[in-house]
Symmetry: C2
Subunit: 207 residues, 2 copies
């Protein structure tokens, strides 16, 4: 089957080149079956890191995303995935397309900046629903750490709180209780983590 998918993958890769890579995964071994136009350095046989899909809401049958990802060098990607099943409904392959957004981001920035400092009337962007963004941020962090909420280590928590702090979350009214709820902690625990994170800049383990 993977063979029959190959032309499709290559076609997509060519269409979007050089801004996208196409990866075919083997869900059984959780490894890369084939890759076209790699952006990341992965090659055939590398682990897939596909567990992530479990977390995501499929938008339709076996279709996931688009969802954001990042390359180690900081470039941002938009990704979609599709599960290919055999005649009996068993997953046979997972096809992922990762588009490098940086070129589009740059162009958008150029256009958006055209003769304009402009914030204008969309004042409605001040707060939006910061509570949702908070949850997202926490969820992302947890996912990145590959753990669950209560499986986080202390230093993980400090790190997360530091991130939220840097993001200005705590300038929001009533944020501490909300963060506490989002992290599944007590209010005081959050204050304690916050104190820690503000004490030591960004160390891992002091000797």
């Amino acid at each position: 089957m993977a063979d029959r998918l190959a032309p499709v993958c290559e076609a997509i890769a060519r269409l979007l080149s050089p801004h996208a890579e196409v990866v075919l995964h083997d869900p059984a071994t959780d490894s890369v079956l084939a890759i076209w136009n790699p952006l990341s350095k992965r090659t055939v046989g590398d682990p897939s890191l596909l567990g992530e899909l479990d977390e995501l809401t499929p938008v339709g049958t076996d279709v996931y995303g688009p969802y954001p990802k990042s390359l180690p060098d900081g470039r941002r990607l938009s990704s979609v995935s599709a599960v290919i099943r055999d005649g009996e409904g068993r997953p046979e392959a997972v096809l992922c397309v990762n588009v490098d957004r940086s070129a589009f981001d740059a162009a958008a920035r150029i256009l958006a900046a055209f003769a304009a400092p402009a914030t204008a009337q969309p004042a409605a962007l001040f707060a939006g629903d910061w509570t949702e963004r908070l949850n997202e941020t926490v969820a992302d962090f947890v996912r990145d750490k590959g753990a669950t909420l209560d499986g986080l280590s202390k230093s993980d928590r400090v790190e997360l709180v530091a991130e939220l702090d840097a993001a200005g979350v705590f300038d929001q009214r009533r944020s501490v209780p909300t963060v506490a709820r989002a992290m599944g902690l007590s209010r005081s625990a959050v204050y304690q983590l916050l104190a820690l994170s503000r004490k030591e800049p960004a160390d891992a383990d002091p000797a």
Copy 2:
């Protein structure tokens, strides 16, 4: 002098057409001397509404902006202005270029949306510098009303506060004192306006 400026104005208008208008104002009578490629419906002789310039920080000698403005139909503009002086330093004319940003905005939105719901890592967008956005919002409002800060009517103030409220500004910690400063009012005045604005949805003058 205005005559000698005409070719310049027309050239600029043609270069940017159909996305920009060029207006030549007479600061003495505060009216429109000439206009090329009008976006607004102003014609020669109309009042200029130029007092606004006093409020803005010039970026260089007699050069203002770019600053955002809006057309009655909602299109957003980016504007720059320049003061032309005679041999003795008296203002002789004011040249304004207003670029219709809507096309650029649209293009930017398309690019920005490319394959992306993306919240990604820019968590740093939570608060940004809401204080600056606050000032901008206030300044925009004042400019739109064509008045100065202390020239606002009571209902204007209520309206502005309502806008800020809707924008979620007051969910920000310590926002009331800051808003008070930005509006040149006392803290209690802001609370009073806020109470009013929350009482009546959006009426002008109840019978």
